[in-house]
């Protein structure tokens, strides 16, 4: 038994290193000024952590190192101060896309999983084939469509495009989950004179709730990390998403590593909390209740 738990722990350590490693780098870089970061002779143990870049992003107060005489003031960028606001945009957009994906996608997925009807194959093929066209090729016409609808420059246009681009995958995944529910339950419901809407809402949804949660999480993250449509549809600063702001910060080669890493770390934490909460309470919490029996 001891050998096995040692094996488990070493695998766990490897997983932590691979998935978390680059992000711990960002944490390290965010609390160490560039001067020390790039100097092999000085380590963080000599100077202690430095939280001035965090203070700059939230309050706008310049770090002391940038006020010195020879300091390169260009290494600080206003874009970094947009991080908290853009984070709020991103979380609202991704949550809306997640809810819309489930509300719009689950009934369709249930239909595809449980019923046959005219044009079933056609409509399913339409859904499956629509994400094949690479997004880059659709950028211009989708922008024109959104402009015609008057949705450019607001978060609603971004929500609509993210939802529509993710829905095919949501429907596909949810229909896999719905098909795995035992058919006897639905036959029993039918004998009890449940109509299809009732058997969807009273049986399929509660039983598949953990799977629906996982699928919602998938939609949330696809929307959160999407860059291209967010960039062209956001317009002015107030509806920019975190992916757009962070890409601007990352491509600005003048910005100091320290500030960029601080931005990255601030962007990670609230999202990680949202993801872990959904994961813990919706997906795992319900699994423990044994609803899958």
């Amino acid at each position: 038994m001891h050998r096995r738990s040692a094996f488990d722990l070493s695998v766990a350590a490897l997983v932590l290193l691979f998935t978390g490693g680059p992000i711990f780098l960002a944490l390290y870089g965010s609390i160490v000024p560039d001067r020390i970061l790039l100097d092999p002779d000085v380590s963080i143990l000599d100077v202690g952590p430095n939280l001035e870049s965090y203070r700059y992003i939230f309050t706008g107060e310049l770090p002391a190192t940038y006020s010195e005489g020879r300091a390169n003031r260009r290494m600080i960028s206003d874009a970094a101060r947009q991080v908290p606001g853009s984070l709020w945009n991103s979380i609202r957009i991704a949550l809306a896309a997640m809810v819309l994906n489930i509300v719009l996608g689950a009934p369709a997925a249930f239909m595809f999983a449980r019923y046959t009807f005219p044009a079933k194959r056609l409509s399913f093929m339409f859904l499956i084939l629509s994400p094949l066209v690479p997004a880059v090729a659709l950028l211009v016409p989708i922008y024109m469509t959104m402009q015609a609808l008057g949705l450019v420059g607001s978060i609603w246009g971004i929500i609509l495009v993210h939802t529509a681009r993710t829905l095919p995958f949501t429907v596909l995944i949810l229909s896999v989950f719905f098909r795995r529910l035992p058919a006897e339950l639905f036959e029993a419901a039918r004998l009890d004179r449940c109509n299809s809407f009732q058997s969807f809402l009273r049986i399929a949804v509660p039983l598949a709730l953990p799977s629906i949660g996982a699928t919602g999480l998938f939609a949330f993250m696809l929307s959160y990390s999407e860059y291209m449509f967010s960039l062209v549809l956001s317009g002015e600063a107030q509806s920019r998403t975190v992916s757009v702001v962070m890409a601007a910060l990352a491509r600005n080669t003048d910005v100091s590593w320290n500030l960029l890493n601080t931005g990255i770390f601030i962007a990670i934490i609230p999202t990680l909390i949202v993801v872990v909460v959904i994961w813990r309470f919706v997906v795992e919490g319900l699994l423990k209740g044994g609803v899958n029996g």
Partner: protein, 292 residues
């Protein structure tokens, strides 16, 4: 499976309408563009038939980009699914710190592509990179290597970064479908067979197979059509080592402003992706499309 003759579209339209909105006209527009000469520098958009396609296919980058994309997809998609499924199986076991590991595994997910690219550029950096530092400390290397400057190391580096960004999707969906397996099925399997490989092969895998097929399709599509890591990490270089076909859509359209050629590459990608999906569903038959 019951037949529903009346109003199936009341259930389907909420999903079909938004998808149609971002598909029908935009795809039609892109198809139209691919058949016309649409260049920013030359006004007027004359019909040119398949000229854009022949120009793209005979261009000097096409064969290389196609080969790179094919290699990239063939390595990335199975790697993501294999690592994702193994991780999901591993995370079901009880060990110290499991809760923390389960949350950390989701981390790559919460990063936009541009940020993942920055972090990995830092890992592979020739002078300040973490990987160089570790390999030097252990003594595997005697001087630092610039990972992103050598052709095949750059390809591997981009591949590792891509796999890293996609793993959480696979883990979450596999864990959800593992959890949906009936507990009695698992119990019976435990009694029947002591070999955990056999249990996986004959009991667990058939149960999660539809999800594995979905994940393979999704990841093949992602690997074949994504280009943001390449754009940010190597810009397609060194030389043409990391030039992917999907990256060429962007380059033709927004770097050369030849939208006709960009759209033509896009539809070549569409045809190949469709073939990929058909190949995957043929190779791993499952009742994905609800035919049974």
């Amino acid at each position: 499976m019951w037949t529903l003759k009346r109003y199936p579209f009341v259930w389907l339209l909420p999903a079909l309408l938004p998808v149609a909105l971002v598909t029908l006209y935009p795809v039609g527009h892109a198809l139209w563009t691919s058949l016309h000469s649409v260049m920013l520098l030359f006004p007027g958009e004359p019909f040119v038939g398949l000229e854009n396609y022949t120009r793209v296919v005979t261009s000097n980058y096409f064969a290389v980009a196609l080969r790179n994309s094919a290699t990239f997809t063939a390595l990335a998609a199975p790697a993501v699914v294999a690592i994702g499924v193994s991780l999901a199986l591993f995370l079901r076991r009880r060990f110290f710190g499991r809760t923390m590991v389960r949350s950390i595994v989701l981390l790559p997910w919460v990063l936009p592509g541009a940020i993942s690219a920055v972090l990995w550029t830092w890992v592979f950096h020739p002078s300040f990179g973490l990987l160089n530092w570790v390999l030097l400390e252990i003594g595997i290397l005697d001087r630092s290597v610039s990972f992103l400057a050598s052709p095949w190391l750059a390809f591997i580096s981009v591949l590792v970064a891509h796999v890293w960004t996609q793993i959480p999707f696979a883990v979450v969906l596999t864990m959800a479908s593992l959890a949906a397996i009936h507990p009695e099925t698992m119990e019976a399997a435990r009694l029947d067979s002591r070999s955990s490989w056999k249990r996986f092969r004959f009991v667990i895998f058939p149960e999660i197979k539809p999800m594995v097929v979905v994940l393979l399709i999704y990841n093949a599509l992602m690997a074949f059509t994504s280009y943001d890591l390449v754009y940010a990490m190597t810009g397609g270089g060194p030389g043409t080592a990391t030039t992917l076909l999907a990256f060429q859509i962007w380059r033709e359209s927004f770097s050369m402003y030849d939208f006709g050629a960009g759209a033509a590459v896009a539809f070549i990608v569409v045809v190949i992706s469709a073939l990929l999906i058909i190949a995957i569903t043929r190779a791993l038959p499952s009742d994905l499309f609800g035919d049974r």
